[in-house]
Structures are given as structure tokens and as C-alpha cells.
């Protein structure tokens, strides 16, 4: 474990995300719907649920950044409009 408290953001996982994107079509053939665990350039396995992937990720890599991603044809865009448009504080 090189850094037990690496809480840095999404850029930390850029290598893992790039690997996932490059292999997405390949993954879809056999693992659509599964959760893939990636650390650096290593594909560490496919799992039925996120918690199992997290457990294995912790066992293998400790509390360091690694990527867990559900293998899917498209990734949904998520929204928190009230926060992003400043509406939550509108009446406080």
C-alpha cells in the first residue's frame, strides 16, 4: 500500500478508465452486466456485484484507487440539478 489515504479524484483512475474503454467491446462479449475490477493495466477479474469486486480489490490492492465498473454498452449520465443550479440554498 503506497498511500493509505489517496482520496484524489477521477483523474487518478484515468489509466484504468482508458483501459476499460479500449476493451469495452471485448468485455461485452462475455461479461455484459458483470462488474470488472481494474488496477493500472491489470484486469483483476469480473464479479456479479460491486461489493464482491470491492472486497477483492481491497484484498489485492489495499485502500488505494482502483476501478470497479459495470460492463455496459453505454454509461448513464447522472444528475443533481438542484445542487448544480444552486437551488438547494435558494431559501436558506
Amino acid at each position: 500500500m503506497t498511500n493509505p489515504c489517496d482520496t484524489t479524484g477521477s483523474e487518478t483512475l484515468s489509466e484504468e478508465v482508458a483501459l476499460y474503454e479500449s476493451k469495452r467491446s471485448e468485455f461485452l462479449l462475455d461479461y455484459e452486466g458483470k462488474f470488472v475490477l481494474i488496477k493500472g493495466s491489470e484486469v483483476a477479474g469480473f464479479f456479479d456485484d460491486e461489493s464482491e469486486a470491492y472486497k477483492v480489490g481491497l484484498e489485492r490492492f489495499g485502500n488505494t484507487p482502483f476501478l470497479i465498473r459495470q460492463v455496459a454498452r453505454q454509461d448513464a449520465v447522472q444528475n443533481t440539478p438542484a445542487l448544480h443550479f444552486g437551488l438547494i440554498r435558494a431559501h436558506t
Binding site: C5, G9, T12, S51, N63, A82, L83, I88
Partner: protein
């Protein structure tokens, strides 16, 4: 997701307060159980739980925690998600946490959930520790009686 059939009534005195503040409830954040076991096995300190207000946000597709909580809990990112924002799409990290929704004292748990990945954002400025989005609410029954100043939530 664990379910507890406890009727919850928020501590709001009336419709005006409810309209201004929204449906707020008590939240507790901890490191994931698996990470806690790992830290203990390595004789490392386990970050103390964080407590604070959460806001029900039915407009949010997913739940979010304050970014300060990520640093406090010392959890590393395990994923990336695309967020739609006023300025366009951007990437945001996902963090593993253990979240509990509790009722007012004596703090009975209404819901306990482990998230393999939840995003973080600048909620502290809004006086919040957490936004409760539709991912959690998909398992809930919620009644919002704005005129009566009454809300209830059950899982």
C-alpha cells in the same frame, strides 16, 4: 438493500419550515465494513463516523456525500461517473462508504447501506453531509404532506 419498517417523522414544526428547509434527516457515514476490517488487521486507526444532515432530493438521480467526508474517512476512489452539470458533462470519482439514515434520538437506524461507489460534491456550503437521491429512494416509501408540515419515510 436492508429494510427496516420503522415509520419516520421529521422534526419540522410546520409547513413553512418544511418548505424552506426541505425534507432533512440525520445521516451517519462510516468507512465500509470491509475497509474497517482491513485497517484493524493492519493495526491502523479507523476514521471516526461522521454525522450530519441529509436532504431528500427527488430531482437527483443518485446520492452524494460531502467531499470533506471523503478526506475524513480516508477512502480511495473505486470508480468514475459522468455528471451532467450546468456547464456540461464532467467526470467525478466514486467512493465506497457505509451510510445510515437515523431517526431523531435515540438514533434508531432507519436504513443502513453500503455503497461500493458514491460521488462526492461541495455540500458543506449548503449545510449538508449528504443528498439522498433516487437511487436510495427507489427502495423507499415517502409521504410529503407540505400543508401539514409532515413527512414520513420508510424502507
Amino acid at each position: 438493500m436492508p429494510t427496516l419498517s420503522i415509520h419516520f417523522q421529521a422534526q419540522v414544526p410546520g409547513s413553512v419550515v418544511l418548505a424552506k428547509q426541505g425534507f432533512r434527516l440525520a445521516i451517519e457515514l462510516r468507512v465500509p465494513e470491509q475497509l474497517e476490517k482491513l485497517l484493524l488487521s493492519e493495526n491502523k486507526p479507523v476514521p471516526a463516523p461522521l454525522t450530519g444532515p441529509g436532504l431528500i432530493d427527488t430531482g437527483a438521480t443518485f446520492s452524494m456525500i460531502d467531499e470533506g467526508a471523503v478526506a475524513h474517512l480516508c477512502v480511495s476512489p473505486v470508480g468514475v461517473v459522468t455528471l451532467g452539470t450546468a456547464g456540461g458533462s464532467k467526470q467525478s470519482a466514486l467512493y465506497p462508504v457505509r451510510l445510515a439514515i437515523t431517526t431523531p434520538p435515540p438514533n434508531q437506524p432507519l436504513l443502513r447501506a453500503e455503497f461500493a461507489g458514491i460521488t462526492a460534491g461541495p455540500l458543506k456550503d449548503c449545510g449538508l453531509l449528504c443528498l439522498i437521491g433516487r437511487d436510495i429512494l427507489s427502495n423507499a416509501t415517502m409521504v410529503y404532506d407540505g400543508g401539514g408540515g409532515h413527512v414520513s419515510l420508510s424502507f
